[in-house]
Amino acid sequence: MSSNKASRIGEEIWKTRIDKVNTELVTLTYGTIVVQLCKDYDNDYEEVNKQLDKMGYNIGLRLIEDYLAKSNTMKRCTSFRETADMIAKVGFKIFLNITPQVTNWTNDNNQFSLVFDENPFADFVELPDDGRAQDELWYSNILCGVLRGALEMVQMQVEAHFISDVLKGNDTTEMRVSLLRYIDDELPPEDD
């Protein structure tokens, strides 16, 4: 499927089949979650990142079903490149109404970057200036978990992490996604 077609599909679904919700609600709810985690873990930001990723993973495991139902593309992507396009132009479009750019592919087509021009989670946010949050906290880390969880359910084991964030003063917000392996269908346990 060409990337143009993917963005058309994303646009179409966003317009017709998605229940919309106020962005401030999303932004503030997510913000509260992150701040609460920071409190609960005594500003141990490494741990907060981990927890966000775990939460995202659990969301991803479920969200993939919703994605498949809404996008109605019951067809496997033929390549990891196509997967990337579908994630950016359909997945992010229908759930967050953003389309991050897919760039910086490695030669073996197993690693790419998602560059977020806008990020509804991070509106209004300023990281605390305690000297550590700027270095350690990946504010939108839940998204990494979501991708990992969702792709795992469609037989792709990936690793995802942010490598830059405008909240930390970087020019862009960039997530690196690498395909580790395709998970082989596992045979069900013998029932004899």
């Binding site: 401030e24 932004t27 503030l28 997510y30 913000g31 509260t32 992150v34 701040v35 509106d123 209004f124 946010v125 300023e126 990281l127 605390p128 200036d129």
Partner: protein, 163 residues
């Protein structure tokens, strides 16, 4: 014209303060408070809180205009919906030298004129917009001091633009 701007929280503690001067008529935007009066600004400003609390219920609007005067110091006030008060102390320039005719048309020359009121209103509105953004940050807690450098820059920009 020199200005001292402070944001006072609902517990009457200052959350933010910023001192600046006019940028109109080729002025450099630096305040001209002398060392003798600088530390009094806070007292003068906070002493007008009582008046602000009286006046705020009489007004239908958030902008209360000039509510208090102490010698040559005028206090304008703006109350947000969450009862946070923006207070601006303005102190007209001492007209020494030949700049008298020039500054008579300046915003600062007549602190209670409609033009001044309007300029301060625009300043407050811009600060208010940025204030809302600053306090929407999930890491900000109610009545916490605002340390954000971005917010400070924007207040400075609003000051340059309107005052």
């Amino acid at each position: 014209m020199s200005y001292y701007f402070a944001i006072v929280g609902t517990q009457d503690a200052p959350l933010f303060e910023y001192e600046f001067g006019t940028s109109k008529q080729g002025h450099d935007g630096l305040s001209r408070f002398s060392d003798q009066v600088r530390h009094l600004n806070q007292f003068i400003l906070h002493s007008s809180l009582d008046i602000a609390e009286e006046v705020q219920w009489a007004h239908g609007s958030m902008y209360l205009k000039c509510i208090d005067k102490f010698f040559d110091n005028y206090i304008s006030c703006f109350v947000t919906g969450a009862n946070v008060k923006f207070l601006l102390l303005h102190h007209p320039l001492n007209n020494t030298g030949g700049s008298g005719s020039r500054s008579s048309t300046a915003i600062g020359a007549n602190p209670t004129s409609p033009a001044t009121e309007e300029a301060i209103k625009l300043f407050f509105q811009e600060v208010y917009e940025n204030w809302v953004k600053a306090v929407m940050s999930p890491f900000y807690q109610n009545n916490m001091e605002v340390k954000s450098p971005v917010f400070r820059q924007r207040v400075a920009a609003a000051g340059r633009k309107y005052l």
